[in-house]
Structure formats: C-alpha cells, structure tokens
Symmetry: C2
Subunit: 306 residues, 2 copies
Amino acid sequence: MEAYDLIVVGAGPAGLAAGLYAGRSRLNTLVMESMMPGGQAAVTDALENYPGVGLISGPELTQRMLEQMNEFGAELATGEVTGIDARDGEFFVVAGGEERRSRALIAAMGTRYRRLGVPGENEFAGRGVSYCATCDGPFYKEQEVAVVGGGDSALQEALFLTRFASKVYLIHRRDEFRAVPVLGERVRAHDSIECLCSHVLKSIKGESGVDSLELLNKKTDETRELAVPGVFIFIGLEPRTDLLRGVVELDEAGFVPTDQDMKTNVRGLLAAGDCRVKALRQVSTAVGDGATAAFTAYRYVEEGEW
Amino acid sequence: MEAYDLIVVGAGPAGLAAGLYAGRSRLNTLVMESMMPGGQAAVTDALENYPGVGLISGPELTQRMLEQMNEFGAELATGEVTGIDARDGEFFVVAGGEERRSRALIAAMGTRYRRLGVPGENEFAGRGVSYCATCDGPFYKEQEVAVVGGGDSALQEALFLTRFASKVYLIHRRDEFRAVPVLGERVRAHDSIECLCSHVLKSIKGESGVDSLELLNKKTDETRELAVPGVFIFIGLEPRTDLLRGVVELDEAGFVPTDQDMKTNVRGLLAAGDCRVKALRQVSTAVGDGATAAFTAYRYVEEGEW
C-alpha cells in the first residue's frame, strides 16, 4: 500500500493551495480528484475578484495553480475516491479499488449544486435542466432560457447566459436578491434579463427534453406556464462530505467544523475550502484555508503538534 | 467630518482584498495607508507561493491588487494614521490632523520587523543595519554582509542578498533553521552563503557606519569579530497595533484575537491579515482574511448582523 505524509482529497483552489504549500514544505503529498482539477472554480466562466489577478477564467486560474503545485513536488491522482477511513492514527483512502494511506489528511472536497426537488428535475437533468451555465450555456444560442435563484451565482450565471440566449428569465422566490448589490444592479439594468421575482418553480415539463416550466406567482397565487427549452438551477451548494460521515464531526448541513488552524475534531484530519463551516466561500478564502491546513499538517507530521 | 460605511486601516494584501470586496459590495469604503501600499509584500523581492500567480515581485502583485480594488470603487488615502477611537457605535480615525468616521472598521495594519535590541542596532539603523534586503541589498555589491535569523524570511533574504554581496554570513542562534526545508536546502547548497549556526550577535560596532559584528559561539563560548559593512536582521515580526491599545482586546504580543469571521471583541471592529492572531502569515491567508472581514462588515453595516 502506497504511503504518504499527507493526502489531500479534492483539487479545487483549497486542495491545490494545500498541495502547493505541503509540497514546498517537502511533505510527501498526494492530491486526489475525481473530476477535472479546479473544483467549482473550474466551471466558473469569469472570476474578477481573486486579488492580484483581475478578470480571468476559472479554468485558466486553476490550471495555473495546478502547475505551480506540481513545481513544488505535490502529485495529482485522478480517480473517484470511494472510501475514507481513520484507523490507528492513520488515514486510508480508497480510489479505483486501490487503498493508500497517510499520516495526515486534508478534506477539500468542496460543494455541489443543490437540487430544487421539483417534478421533472431529475428526469430532465442533462436534457434541459442544468447546474452549470459555463458547460451548457452555448447550447441555447438565440433561445430563451430560465435561471432559478437569487444569490451571487444565480445572478452571475444569468448575466453570463445573456451572451448566448436571446432572453433570460430570472425566477426568484423572494422580492429582493441575496446577491451583492453590484450584481443586482447589473441584472436589473440588463435588456435581455426579465426578473420574475416572487415566483416559484413548481414543475418542469417536457417530452424528450424540457418544453416548459410551471411557475407560481406567490403574490397573486396564479400559475403560469413559461415555454423554455432550458432551465439553470442555482439555489446554493451542499458539501461533498458523504464519505466523511462517521469519520469526523459534521454540522447539520454536512459541512465540517474546524478551528482557525483548519483542525477538525480528529487528530491529523483537517478541512479546507468550501466543504468546511465558514462565512464566505470564495477562491480567495479557499487558498488561505489550503495554505493554513498544509502548514498545520506539516507541524503535525514533522513535529507531532496538534 | 467625512463619513464612510467602512474604513480599512492598512493597505497590504489583507487591506486591499478587504477594499476590493467591500467596494464590490457597494460599501462606501476608504482604505488608509501611511506608507506605500502593499505592506510587507511590497518589500518582498520575489513571491512564488501565491496560488495561481507563480513567481512575481511583491510590488507588482500588490500594485495589481490596488488597481483591482480601485476598479470596484474603494478609495485609497495616503497619510499616517495617528489615532483610532470607538465611540457610540462608530469609529473615528485621525490622519494628517483630519478626523474621519465610519460605521465599521477593519484593522489591517500588518507587522513590522522586530529589533534585536543589541548595542549599536539603533545607532546604525539605516547606516549598515537594515531590515529590508530588497531596499538595501543593492548597496552591498561585491561586499560581504551578514544576516541574522533562521526563519523563512531570514533565509529568503540571505538568498536574495547573494545577487549583490560577494558573501553572506547567516548568523543563527540555533543549530537548525525554523524555515521550511526547501529554503534550508537552498541556503546550505549555496556557494556564497556561510552558515554560522549556534552563533549569537552580541553587538554592532563602527564609526560612521557598521564596521564589524561581535559574535558569540554558543557551543565553544568563544567570541569572534566579523568585519562586515552591513547586517540584515530578520528575527520575526511584531504587530503595528499600538493605536488599538485600549480600543480592542490584544494578546500579549499585541496581535488582535478574532473569530473565524474576523470579528474582534468590539462590535463593528474587525481585524484581517498579519496583525491578527493566526498560525500562518502569508499573502494567501491575508487575502482570505480581507475578503471575509469585508463580508462580515457588509452584513454588519447593511443588516446589523454581528
């Protein structure tokens, strides 16, 4: 069984920053990722608020992080992690039928988009129902689409979709957006975006793909049919921490509580980035988490400090 | 008196990131800095571990952060802050004889280099005694210099000084460096660096400038005279939090304790970056702090949440 000083599960900005710092500290480090490296950032079309970089695409920024990490000697392994266990002060990670062990582990699995849970959502996922405008936006050139949500990502993605769609309906159950004001202003000023506030998506209808959405106007209690071939759902994130259940303490929503050094309630096990309990989930906060987690892991592995 | 939603004191990476995020959130934000923006990062010759950027000079990275912050509408004011006060739920900041007030305040004053406290140190500061290799290194072309310290910054600066000096003596009171191993390896492998481990600097001697250092070998108890015209002292940092004494809780060393949302024990007062109590002081962790502090300030100013 291959043994490492440190295994990092997840190669988004937190995991990549952890790998960079751990590699630079000469810890024998493996970063594991089931999908493309970069996490949620890698499916973000445009990032403008990572300090010192300015406007950049998510894939480009995270690709740079990966190259930088490799320069410092941390290794990336691609494959779906199917098991994480803590035994006798060591960690065991299973991926592709192979088990690897490590002295310290950083959980950096990030989040996935939350589902709405309405009829038709699962049935038409990938056939008109999408959680990624970057991935699927270009399929809707000169067509009308709908976006569900009122937070930063919903508004960002609605703005992004105007590059392709002839019109974007923004369906939001409240009157006010939760998003930062600058995004609200841009959305309201945009000619191609129509805000359907106080509206709730009740069901998604279609035959081979999405044909229409059933909407409820919460103010008038009237139901309305909106004919669109695509709907993008951005109603928040949930942590990808299923494999940590029973291994480490999780909060009600499944996020990992840590202290400021990224320590969990299990010795040697740290969490970094979006999957931990924190106020603000951004690339800028993920890299800080990753660097700090790697530093704490280094002190644990080399000096036994916890 | 000019009034702001938020005043950020200090324009290093933490303050600039806070300004960027606060500006993007449409808080009326002023960032105040007594010196050149960029903080300690701006006097760092080469940064290689800020994720996603790769090798870059400190001034270039922080200049980019400043421009990005300005794009989002946060304002920079240059001038030495001489007073900070909290009264009636507001904050009052004095600079250049002018008082400004704000509803929230982010303390991001960073740190300054700690002094060794040996005879000759203050006398020859700026005349052979330096705390900044980037600033003063070029004065020692083809001369021999000494560096005091054994942490990351001491070793980084020793390596940097080899670009100018014909020889660098690295004086460290212990046998082992505290720095990350990669730096220790580079220093030990370097032809122009001679490590004087287990040596202590007792005094700095000279006439118009530094002429020699008096060193004590801790193992043999022998004293030795080292003739060099320059000595660079890198023995750690102390927080620039003098103005916060009596305003907010500080720890014994003067750092500001905060929770994970960067809240101090005073409502509306946050701290971010190197001046707060934290494990790892890096650009990567400073920007995460700054972003989080701005987010918490936004929720406090706009929604009254604390």
